[in-house]
């Protein structure tokens, strides 16, 4: 008798409390994306700077970054997650996913940052140096603001891409938005409702980013 009841409850319909479960999944997406985008952007700016100043870095670092940019993220995730334990370095799904996502972001941001630095005319940098500014003052007060304005739209694209690509970390078992939804779909057999809600969640996460950068872009217009 009791086994029958359990069998019936195994598939139960979508409940309001499941929204809370999805929200927690969204929290996972936010955490992993926020870390990947912020750390990956800082790292990517350093890489981009290295690419712009040194031909040697361009050859070595550039090809490493090309690998991260060219190999599908899902393969990078699975390889990294499954190979580290072989080397005796077990990592959890969260750590593995975060690390891979950071380097993936950094590889994309590096090219954006290099583009930003190269968007600043060398004659403008000469002008800054001729005023007695140091190399780093030129970088901080001329190259960064001018370059950032040039590549903000491209960076926004990367950030939104990473936010959505973070869904792939679900393959490692880390419970973020997509993984949470898959678990619910399995239980409720109501993919339509749940995936729609999940889509709305992703939209709610992405929209503020694109809105915010669009406003920055407008405020930063040269006028």
């Amino acid at each position: 008798m009791s086994t029958e009841v359990n069998a019936i409850q195994f598939f139960s319909g979508f409940q309001v409390s499941d929204l809370w479960y999805l929200a927690k999944g969204a929290g996972g997406t936010i955490v992993i994306s926020a870390i990947a985008i912020s750390v990956g952007t800082i790292l990517g700016c350093l890489f981009g700077w290295a690419l712009s100043v040194s031909r040697w870095a361009n050859m070595t670092l550039g090809s490493v970054l090309d690998v991260f940019r060219s190999v599908p993220l899902i393969i990078q995730l699975l390889l990294f997650f499954n190979f580290l334990p072989i080397l005796g370095l077990p990592v959890g799904p969260f750590a593995a996913g975060t690390i891979v996502l950071i380097f993936y972001t950094a590889a994309l941001v590096a090219q954006v940052a290099r583009g930003g630095i190269e968007a600043v005319p060398s004659s403008m940098r000469n002008a800054a140096r001729s005023l007695g500014m140091t190399y780093w003052q030129d970088i901080r007060y001329v190259v960064m603001p001018v370059g950032l304005r040039a590549v903000l739209p491209a960076w926004t694209g990367v950030a939104l891409g990473v936010l959505k690509d973070s869904a792939l970390v679900s393959v490692l078992g880390y419970i973020e938005l997509l993984r949470a939804s898959q678990i619910l779909v399995t239980r409720t057999q109501e993919p339509f409702i749940i995936l729609t809600i999940v889509g709305l969640f992703y939209f709610a996460l992405s929209y503020p980013i694109s809105k915010m950068t669009a406003r920055l872009e407008q405020r930063w217009q040269y006028d």
Partner: protein, 240 residues
């Protein structure tokens, strides 16, 4: 005083400056004329070490510019430079464009830097543009802004690299007038230019560059009106 002694500069295999000797006294205005590619602009870039030299010496107020121990950031405070492209900082207002270097390099307070900037901008006739962004201004105005920006460092010398070449013809006059103003202030200037009549009327001496050497140098009026060397005569008859 700026002194160049047998300065040689190469870009790869190409020798751009083939032993330049030149000295510029305090208060003197020297114009440098010559065909494109003759090395005039390169010489200016070498004087404040935006380009390295391969041999020879450049000495500014007793300091060997290209010696390893020379602090270039310190040296460049004393040598203002204005470029063919005006290179306004597009993200800063006109006032901030000029105030930036005094703040960063000279360590002036914000108020001091702004008052220096305002003074220099008024001097070049941009007193009514302080809060404007440079992209809203004409090329001539932006070039005057570049001059004010260099002057705000209170340099002892000013280098001008074809500052009117990228301007529409009707805007050339206002920039040349600003240069005249500086001459009247007693500024020491090296002016690389294609404006022959300006060179004749405003400078003390004129140097004619040909393929990396100073072919002829002399008093401005005399060199322009009565050049001695055949190449100088040829160049001047071509540009007139």
């Amino acid at each position: 005083m700026i002194e160049l002694k047998s300065v040689e500069k190469k870009f790869g295999d190409i020798t751009v400056l083939k032993g330049i000797d030149l000295s510029v006294e305090k208060g003197e205005v020297i114009s440098v004329i010559g065909a494109s590619g003759s090395g005039k602009s390169t010489m200016l870039y070498c004087i404040n070490a935006l380009e390295k030299i391969q041999s020879g010496q450049i000495i500014v107020d007793g300091i060997d510019v290209h010696a390893d121990q020379t602090n270039l950031n310190e040296l460049r405070r004393h040598i203002g430079m204005v470029f063919q492209q005006w290179n306004s900082f597009p993200h800063l207002s006109v006032l901030d464009n000029v105030a930036l270097a005094p703040k960063l390099v000279l360590g002036k307070s914000k108020d001091e830097a702004y008052s220096i900037a305002e003074k220099q901008l008024k001097h070049v006739g941009l007193g009514d543009k302080l809060d404007v962004y440079p992209t809203r201004m004409s090329g001539g105005q932006q070039q005057r802004l570049a001059i004010a920006r260099a002057l705000a460092m209170e340099p002892d010398y000013m280098l001008f690299d074809e500052v009117t070449s990228a301007l529409d013809p009707e805007l050339v006059g206002e920039v040349l007038d600003t240069l005249r103003l500086l001459r009247d202030d007693g500024m020491t200037m090296i002016v690389v230019t294609h404006e022959i009549s300006f060179a004749r009327d405003v400078s003390d001496r004129v140097a004619f560059f040909h393929q990396g050497v100073i072919e002829e140098i002399g008093q401005a009026q005399q060199l322009i009106n009565d050049p001695q060397k055949e190449r100088t005569q040829q160049f001047l008859s071509n540009v007139r």
